[in-house]
């Protein structure tokens, strides 16, 4: 598809060939769009359409049963005076700020361990990757809740070592650690990506460094980290965005209530409760758009600051 323009430029003198080539171009493009059509239709109907509709609804009062009533920016101004909203922001930000770096650190550490050839590395890679496939599911959330419950294995195990925390699920101070553990446990997906990145670092760099007398720490900070920085950036960005969207596990573990004393009232959960329990769809839509804007801003900040620490090979730096 992309080689035709060069060909047509070279054979400019032979008109019939050029005509056939551009006809091919047109036919190729049409075929492309035709294959794209199902996805495109779905995207417009199921994603873009609802997004636009939700933007409209965020300026209204809509209780699902009666037609929406326009109220302008009221929803947005009420948001910032709503204590539970502010709490949900705090909970979600705490989760992102503590959960994501820990998860990436675990992913990188394990990826580095699995980078060297060892027996059963295929097995280990699959074993570590598996949790990230099923981690966001309902069944895992139910299991996690049971594990950290009053009589669950975690509580029992800890008390064996003399740490008497009781159940984590009902304790407002321990529910966030429980969620952070859940996300860190799913480090398999970023780990696999890190592994791929690690494999692309030329071995000669490490050999050269060894010859210069560099220890493992030096090698990590001066070779691994810079060479891996595009991958780190990618994972950091994706995991951060992903962390903001946590819903299923929050809903299941807190029984749809936002947990003991609001300690698990994640942003999306509060949004859901406002929309479907309180019938305040306009308010929920406003929350949703606010989240989009905020995540967009954070992404922008990531990209802007990336220039100072992400090192793409082939750059002049």
């Amino acid at each position: 598809m992309t080689s035709s323009p060069t060909l047509s430029r070279r054979s400019a003198s032979s008109a019939p060939v050029q005509l056939r080539k551009s006809k091919r171009n047109g036919a190729d493009a049409r075929a492309g769009y035709t294959f794209l059509l199902p996805w495109l239709l779905g995207f417009i109907a199921l994603t873009v359409g609802p997004m636009i509709s939700s933007l409209y609804l965020s300026f209204t009062n809509y209780n699902l049963f009666e037609p929406p009533k326009w109220i302008g920016l009221d929803n947005y101004t009420t948001l910032f005076q709503d204590e539970r909203f502010l709490q949900s922001v705090g909970v979600t930000v705490g989760y992102v700020v503590f959960g994501t770096p820990l998860k990436l650190a675990a992913a990188l550490a394990v990826a580095m361990l699995l980078n060297s050839k060892r027996r059963g590395q295929g097995f280990y890679r699959s074993a570590f990757y598996a949790p990230s496939l099923i981690g966001a599911s309902v069944s895992i959330a139910i299991v996690w809740k049971a594990m950290f419950g009053d009589s669950g294995p975690v509580g029992q195990g800890l008390s064996f070592f003399g740490i008497n925390l009781g159940g984590w699920v009902g304790n407002p101070a321990m529910t966030m650690p429980m969620f952070i553990l859940l996300t860190v446990w799913q480090f398999g997906a970023p780990m696999v990506i890190f592994l791929a990145g690690l494999k692309q670092i030329p071995g000669e760099l490490y050999e050269a460094a060894s010859m210069d007398g560099a220890g493992p720490v030096r090698k990590f900070f001066n070779i691994t980290w810079p060479m891996l920085s595009p991958v780190i950036f990618f994972n950091l960005l994706m995991e951060t965005i992903h962390a903001f969207q946590i819903f299923a596990s929050a809903y299941i573990i807190s029984n749809g209530e936002g947990g003991p004393a609001g300690s698990t009232l994640f942003y999306t959960l509060y949004l859901y409760l406002r929309g479907f329990s309180d019938f305040r769809m306009g308010y929920a839509s406003a929350m949703a758009w606010l989240l989009v804007v905020v995540v967009g801003i954070i992404t922008l900040i990531f990209f802007r600051t990336s220039k100072s620490w992400v090192h793409y090979s082939g750059d002049s730096r």
Partner: protein
């Protein structure tokens, strides 16, 4: 000229459209509202409850299907909290189940917004109902729900737990102070192994009863609050000295045990709730017997009690099978065999036909006897609560839970709830 690419494209499009169009066709038997024995119509029925109720409901459905071979009932259930979120999403999508078990708290929300069928337009026999009970399912002259049964508030206790502690069984004539003392006794005498009960001030309907005992109505007839912040503060301060002691189970244990209740999990000696929870508690706790006594009151002549429709049967306004839905509802509220299946697990049957056809034994008899014993104290049932009441009830529970976690003071909790209530009432406009 036909080339291979064109041919393949046409075949692909043809197959795809054929598949799509065939999916548009509906299943058998839905061409009309009625079916027959070999082409039965299928209606959807949903309810909330625990496994015990699910078991009984399935028996009732099987019985209905055997008596009505032209109707199939597709049943499923959830717990109470999740039930309403599901209904909200279904209503938004225009797909509410044909028949549903309903709660008074949400009757106005859905009825007034034309989501429920006016049952006076279909054939349901209500002649065996107490005339004073039927208005509780009616709004502006339209019947949106038929009560299945009644219930009244009570204090449950497990005699087998009190005996080893040497605590005498209560007789139900107690003031709030005496009730509090009773709860404290349980905690102290059991050395923390058993709690007196949950924080009863977190239960909306108990608050409602206390208001009535003090001659205050919760809501005025035009949908505004009938009580003040001071009233609520007084109420929540009733158990201020019990929180954090062995009298009341700590809130984090309550969260752990959810969705099972502390009483059903044998963690407390008492529970303050509706009398139809008896069957569920027996099933969950495995206790041999549980007993009921009236709620505390500082005025022995005014217990503030009333018979509330414990639940209602409603139908979706958009159901395609009005006749089948009506027959199912009629069956569930009137048939004596259904009464035998459920006994008092939904409450005391509202229809006399169903009540008379049921033999109440053992603990079921206790529930029926309980309602008979408080008959002289019973006042009129309140009318369907205001729109959005379901939300207020759940925020009451949530804020009281925060109170018990020590996250809020009584003043803070009162302000928080009032803010939500006033906001909601303003929304209702």
């Amino acid at each position: 000229m036909i080339n291979r690419r064109h041919f393949l494209t046409t075949v692909a499009i043809g197959t795809a459209s054929a598949a799509a169009l065939s999916a548009c066709g509906s299943g058998a038997g839905s061409s009309g509202q009625t079916g027959s024995a070999d082409k039965p119509v299928t209606i959807n029925y949903t309810w909330w409850g625990n496994d015990d109720r699910a078991e009984r409901t399935r028996k009732a459905i099987a019985l209905f299907e055997s008596k009505n071979p032209d109707i199939k009932v597709n049943g499923n259930f959830t717990d109470f909290a999740g039930y309403w979120q599901k209904r909200a999403t279904e209503a938004a999508g225009g797909g509410l189940p044909d028949v549903m078990q309903w709660d008074l708290s949400y009757l106005r929300d859905y009825g007034q917004r034309n989501q429920l069928l006016d049952l006076s337009t279909v054939k349901i026999d209500t002649s065996a109902f107490d005339k004073s009970l039927l208005p509780s399912g009616q709004i502006k002259g339209k019947t949106y729900g038929i009560p299945t049964s009644t219930n009244a508030f009570a204090v449950y206790y497990d005699p087998a737990k009190l005996a080893p502690l040497g605590i005498a069984e209560p007789d139900g004539t107690w003031t709030y102070k005496e009730f509090n003392d009773f709860l404290t006794q349980v905690g102290t005498k059991s050395n923390g192994a058993l709690y007196g009960g949950t924080d009863y001030t977190g239960v909306w309907w108990m608050f409602n009863i206390w208001l009535r005992q003090n001659k205050i109505e919760a809501f005025t007839s035009d949908g505004k609050l009938g009580f003040s912040k001071d009233d609520l503060k007084k109420w929540w301060n009733l158990t201020a000295n019990l929180r954090g002691t062995g009298a009341i189970i700590p809130e984090d244990r309550v969260t752990q045990l959810a969705p099972k209740s502390p009483f059903g999990s044998n963690a407390t000696a008492t529970e303050v709730t509706w009398d139809n929870f008896m069957a569920g508690y027996l099933g969950d706790s495995g206790a041999k017997e549980l007993k009921l006594v009236p709620v505390p009151s500082d005025d022995p002549d005014n217990l503030g009690l009333f018979l509330k429709p414990s639940m209602l049967m409603v139908a979706s306004a958009k159901t395609k099978f009005k006749d089948a839905a009506a027959r199912f509802i009629d069956f569930m509220v009137n048939d004596p065999e259904v009464g035998q299946i459920f006994k008092t697990s939904r409450g005391v049957p509202a229809s006399k036909t169903q009540r008379d056809g049921t033999t109440f034994e053992g603990t079921d008899k206790l529930v029926v006897d309980y309602e008979k014993s408080i008959e002289k104290y019973l006042k009129d049932a309140p009318e369907p609560p205001i729109v959005g009441f379901g939300t207020l009830e759940s925020s009451f529970k949530r804020i009281a839970s925060d109170l018990n976690y020590g996250k809020l003071t009584v003043d803070g909790a009162t302000d928080a709830w009032f803010k939500e209530a006033e906001d909601l009432i303003k929304q209702n406009g």
